[in-house]
Symmetry: D2
Subunit: 378 residues, 4 copies
């Protein structure tokens, strides 16, 4: 008896050696029919689909400033910014993700480089972006007409569907970090994109308008309370303020690491529903606890130096280095000098969807952590 | 036939002149029986209970700095602060409220005066309080161990059930405005009070701790996101910041008045669930629109001078003057010089309970305004 | 030396016997000046204003069916329902409230009586109302055109600013319990009232429309998700359903009392922001724990009989009896037969304003209970 | 001059024909260096990454009952349910998704088949599941001890991390539809899975416990209000109720289609944060408007027959047929007889993340639709 070669047995189907030939034949026909009718058996693949704990394809990885900046400068020499490819951006491509230009399955991370007196034209898109300035000044990002000046350590938001362009008015090149939810928004089939009509750059209404309005901590324009946007109306957060606040927190706590979250001042929520941004200060010589959490974390070393261990792999970092912790990786840090890390995550996504889990190694007995709102077994 | 004098007819019962005597008698017996059994007929009083629009007992009124400060100083000479009556506070008693020491049915407003090197001992209570500093410096309010320095124009919060005391370390007396939700909390039968155990003053952990932690606009401690308090953890808001933010708003808007709300940075909600605090800047020579809103408003003139018309009654104000607009009063303002008003209201209460209404005179045709979430007639 | 008789010393001012005459004179002048300028000293009255725990004026009290129904019938004979006093309502006036027709400082409770073939014309008001049917059938309440049939044990809502009228189409009189937030809304100076234009009764679009749409537990019209009202769109809750659900709860729990809350199916919130409605089933012969909570509770005994102890005062109740527990009163129940209690409270108000406290006697050591979101002493 | 073959030019790099050879060489070196350092240029691929509108890989497709049920029966003959592959499930594999067993990038859809007297052992996982019963009865799904009886048209929930097993106690096989968020949860690297300890089936506490507790529309257990789960505590929704509610809606509206959403009765939110479930009734002979929305929709035809057009492709359906509309596809329906459709979507995800867009063809001029909370161009 022969089974036709066109029959596609699922690759992990293991037939009992003593299976009767007619059963093998009937199985072959069954799998063929299923395949023809766009049906797939779960029983041949459920181990892959339902893992005991997350098995991200993304791997722990680091990109060094010393590699990235010279490459970006070489790009600037050879590649102009034009309408067809309107940003000079180098995406950090996680080696685990099969050549896709994403740092994890949900996050985009990149270096953006603007030469002296260069500009990048306006567009808008449904993926949201944050910019964290690595070095330089003299550049601004205009967001719906509000030109946000960018200096080292500042965080600038370009929320979903806001027009934005970048302009370097200085004599020196400028580099910053881009963080986007693009891989997630693409996966959700929710990507929209539009170029700015007519002109390349949008008109500027003024500089740092949102910053001036929200400059008083804990105050918001009275009119804003009627309709709270899911995106922060405050578009720029200054490092000088963040640093002082972190120092105050550190003085009170004495912990190895203290952290601030950047929030929407109208609601206290994350700056966008898809992206969470944090700044941390690490005290030298103290190792943090080892933690796992569901969701992706991209770290940007801004000041200082130290070592981060991610799933047993050690990364020594200094200013401008960027590294990534995939979901559920065990992470701890130890700084050798007073250090400041910026971090962008998809934590708001996991939280909104009820999928957050968190565990501290050695403290929780159960490596699976706990769900928020988790229902225990009967 | 005689009706016994002990029969209590409801005062507004109007009997038809032709009513038969036996009916009058039976009515008399009925009203007596109702009264004896603690029942009251609605039909004799529903006009009072259900008015076409609010008819607050509180009246528009103003208290002048020139009257209040000298009186407070005279009190300081004659009345010491002691455990039995542990604050030197003069309550602004609305003349419409039958001698009760309240400025409206929901709000308490007062002047508090602390002589050079005096202090007021710690206690806590379920009513929440805000302090707006009228003049002076060198005093601090300690709230759960955080000593908040007070300077003219600053807002200091003492949220419900937080230990608080006041200390003047300077050589000059200090005066500030107190706003509380005490009349409302009393009416709700929800008042709790406790004196600080053992010592008169609580220990100070540090000065301006919350201010230092929340100093970076739009940032919050990362740990705070897990449990958001209904009270703002930021305890002091500086006038210098507020003023700059108001000027930025004014430059963008060109309106007669621009306003900021002081909020809980963890949630964007009002500083307490019962009290809303606003700061406004009035441009000179421009009259605001005339508005009515449900709820009480207490205004503190901080800088500048102008005129506010409340239900047709005109009040000329200058620095330190305090005036009140009862619920649903028509209010407009016109400043003669650049002016700053502080305002405390019960608006968060009305909003939380679905009772907010607002109308702009001459713009809305219906003087009754609109409810939020209002269901129209079929 | 004589002090003029016009000087008003605060009633509780106790002068030290050795006070110098000139000080007494200056004090007298001070208090006179304060009074003239509408200022009141806190130090003479803060014990009254800030009590260690709530001291409601309302007292525990009960109104018996056997008293109320015959009186209501007598009213029906003598008092017609007319436009000027358009409801035949007997308010339960708490003896502690100085003759006001309120059952507590926040709640209105009443018996409403409609004779055979009588009707009460349409109006609407910002206070919200609930109706709990004590006995009878054949009457309906029309709410914005939806005629809600009323049977014993049913809860019918007439949310704020919804047109409503009542019509008895049967040959027998009908009695129900009214619960309103009127005392609170009046205190907040937020009362609006309007009579239905032109006709006495509004047109009926259909009977039990909301009930039919929300009849499937856990489902809502898909269009409703866009704009959730703060008032429940489900206007009637049937006792037959409630009873079955309570029995299911009781079977699972074995507790002395199990309770359901009636909620807005669009949000799970209380039926209105100002009123919470509960139904409880008491198992016979079991005494509940003794609890205190901030806020007012009005109980309507629907079926069965038992005893409730409120601040040490014992009330024996049977069907149709109504009793009240003031804020912070200690309450426990013991049913002698399987019993059903309906309860209306202001708990949503206290919760929204952060003023909820709750304590179980003998279990919490601190009689003051705990605030939700309470900040502990340093 | 030659470019070494090892240089990887990005596939869509188009070099200007007149590019100088040394520039080509330097570009080749640049792209090699970028590739080696895990960096990728955006300018070569941004058209793919940022599309003008969503371009889902999933295609409109339909699976017919007449194909699926016999195949499932053949599987039952040949494949036993065992611990290693513990469900007899046929996944509906969208032909656009490169052989993955998913119906869209976010949703899993499948037919589950349980033979007479068969059972499927207990497990739990972080992906959430809903079951919609196509035909049969006599089977129950036990969820954390609550055995939910399943009849045709019923919806049964097995929320994330709840133990669940299935048991057919009847003499006939049973088929139902499975909808899961598995593709999304996998993409988010948030998948956890656990087999039930020790025994194959969990103990049953009772049948339809949640149904009995939540059977009264608009009521919830009073204890539940303190901690609201993000998952519905009501685990089963009966078709008989749903059908009546839809008929009531239809009678009031007269529209071609009316819809109910199944919700969490504690919050009015979708049954899970990741899955929305709807039931619709279509009136015969009326065509709905054509709509696009961001997000995936899987339709299960339960009763009746009709035609649905998805992006211009027409699908004729009858009872038991299942079809899918990818994100942003234009969809309209026309029933030939009174019809009932069940629908599962990822709409709650898009809404939570601020990515919802919706447009009605021919009504909105802009094919891009509108974002919720969308910021317009300056």
């Amino acid at each position: 008896m022969e089974i036709p070669v066109t029959v596609r047995f699922p690759t992990d189907t293991s037939l009992d050696p003593g299976t009767a030939p007619e059963t093998v034949e009937r199985l072959g026909e069954l799998y063929s029919d299923l395949d023809r009718l766009d049906l797939q058996p779960l029983w041949t693949q459920n181990k892959q689909l339902l893992s005991r704990a997350p098995r991200p394809k993304a791997v722990p990885w680091m990109w060094r400033r010393v590699d990235m900046i010279p490459l970006a400068a070489r790009c600037a020499e050879l590649i102009t910014i034009s309408r067809g490819g309107d940003r000079r951006v180098l995406a950090l491509a996680n080696p685990g993700l099969d050549g896709r230009p994403f740092i994890t399955s949900t996050l985009w991370a990149a270096i953006q480089y603007l030469g002296a007196h260069e500009s990048a034209p306006a567009h808008r898109h449904s993926p949201g972006a944050i910019r964290f300035v690595l070095e330089g000044e003299g550049t601004f990002t205009t967001v719906n007409g509000d030109a946000c000046d960018m200096r080292a350590g500042d965080l600038v938001l370009t929320p979903p569907w806001h027009w934005h362009d970048h302009k370097n008015e200085s004599d020196a090149p400028m580099t910053w970090f881009d963080g986007l939810d693009l891989p997630l928004v693409n996966h959700l089939d929710a990507t929209f994109f539009e170029e700015y009509p007519a002109e390349a750059m949008q008109p500027v209404r003024g500089h740092n308008l949102s910053e001036q309005i929200y400059r008083a901590p804990g105050t918001v324009p009275a009119v804003a309370s009627s309709g709270v946007s899911v995106y922060s109306p405050l578009l720029v957060y200054r490092f000088a303020d963040t640093e002082q606040a972190l120092r105050s927190l550190a003085r009170d706590s004495g912990a190895a690491m203290v952290s601030l979250e950047y929030v929407n001042p109208l609601s206290g929520a994350s700056v966008m529903p898809t992206l969470g941004c944090h700044a941390s200060r690490l005290a030298p010589g103290q190792r943090t606890v080892t933690e796992r959490q569901v969701g992706s974390q991209v770290f940007v070393a801004f000041r200082g130096s130290g070592t981060t261990v991610i799933d047993g792999r050690s990364f020594d970092w200094g200013p401008g280095d960027i590294f990534v912790a995939p979901s559920w990786a065990a992470v701890d840090h130890e700084a050798s000098t007073e250090s400041y890390l910026f971090r962008v995550t998809d934590a708001p996504v996991l939280k909104a969807l009820g999928l957050s889990r968190h565990t501290v190694e050695g403290r929780n007995q159960d490596v699976l952590g706990k769900f928020v709102g988790h229902a225990e077994a009967p």
